[in-house]
Amino acid sequence: MSRTWSLALRRTALIVAIFVLWEAVTGGFGLGIVLVSPAILARPSSALGELGPYAQSGLLWRDLSTTLTEAMVGLVLGIIGGAALGLGLAYLRGTSEVVEPVLVSLNSLPRIAVAPILLPLFGLGIASKIALSFFTVFFVVFFNTYLGIRSVDPELVKAVQVMGGSRAHLARFVVLPSVFSWIFAALRTSVSFALTGAVVGEFVGASAGLGYRLNIAAGLLDTKRVYLILLILMVFAVTLVEIAKRVEARLLRWRPSATLGT
């Protein structure tokens, strides 16, 4: 316990030190040291000072909820779609051999590169961001599902078969749990992918969202707001990944590694 506390303390100290140093070299604390121009690197105190106006204008909540909605809807649809296609193709071995090169090619495409074509397809609203988020998550889940099915322990299959289990029993007791473990093991990656998809989608064209606001601020050389949004995004991402980690540990508690946590 004391080790955990001392680690937490040292971690906090490092974060505080980074902010203090950052503040000091951008003209803070009345030291007059300006190593980096405020137009490039905003002073943390002034960036955080932007939080008040941003929140009061009502835009903060609107942007946060927009980006969160896009990322989460994209995540859920991506997981469902990827799992469905992965399961489907694993059962249709003939088809999967034909489809594989197409999927591998699509997967090797940098996912966010498709953002510009999604805009005319789905418009400026949240649909195009959901689509990009979906697209980035989909392949992670699809390949994990596909691999998950191929790595099902044949001995477990035999155990169910010898007891007289049907194909439905096999799916319920062996294949699906095995696949779910692979999907949930990729949940953390999927969450950050979903967020990336949403934010990049907003860069390309949107009317709300953290990425949209960030892009506008950068265009106006409003460095304070840029850094504020970056900090918000960081906290946002860390929180989401932390939640994903908890969900993962809970769902995969039967696994030796998942219970240890990191």
Binding site: D153, E155, L156, K158, A159, V160, Q161, V162, M163, G164, G165, S166, H169, F173, V174, P177, S178, S181, R253, W254, R255, P256
Partner: protein, 264 residues
Amino acid sequence: MSVSCDRVTIRFRASVEAVSDVSLDVARGEFVAIVGPSGCGKSTLLNAIADLLDPAICEVTGRIEIDGAGRRERTRRDANLGYVFQRDALLPWQTLLENTQLGLAIRGIGKERRLARARELIAMAGLAGFEHYYPHQVSGGMRQRASLVRTLAYEPQTILMDEPFGALDAQNRMVLQAELLKIWQETPRTILFVTHDLAEAIVLAQRVIVMSRRPGRVKAVHAIDLPYPRDAFALRGSAEFARLETTIWQALRDEFRLATETNA
């Protein structure tokens, strides 16, 4: 006959012969052990009896019957076989309590009855208190007990066991042998037990079938005329046990020797 093999030959990819012309009969309620050097095809034979071989790579000729019916003439459920694997083959995502109900769930038994049966057997196997543990949280010996409980739970008439205690340490192996003996003596079921441990075969079985090195054939069959109930621990020190071990080892030794030479 509970299990009957008539001139069974098994080939892998139509060329490598794993089991050659094996005929054996196991009577209802009989405990038979098969011993042989590793790679002699004894596990393959067991898999063939359980109809677990992939027909795409294995060709089985001859006739295998369970209770008088050919393997493809009945559903697996009607064949009512039990199979205990060397590795426990428990579902890692289910607790021991859930795992032991697997066969009952497959048979569509209601939740109440399933739970009652599983709890009763878990207590009998000395696993009480560990019902809600996942397989990775308990020892190998406990996992294998749970695996045995899972098989007994749906009351298969015939149980095939593929070196079930092979992965355990010597002490655990002896304890589980004693427990298996006790279970079988209380409720006789047909058991076909594959092992490479001759002492284990003698302690447990009524008959020991010695298989030759690959391709496996039946080399000798020995009746183990030690009376039941047997004491798995005391038996090992007896003169009768020593006599049987020496006799059967004579047949087995050559196979081990030849196996080493061919491998070298």
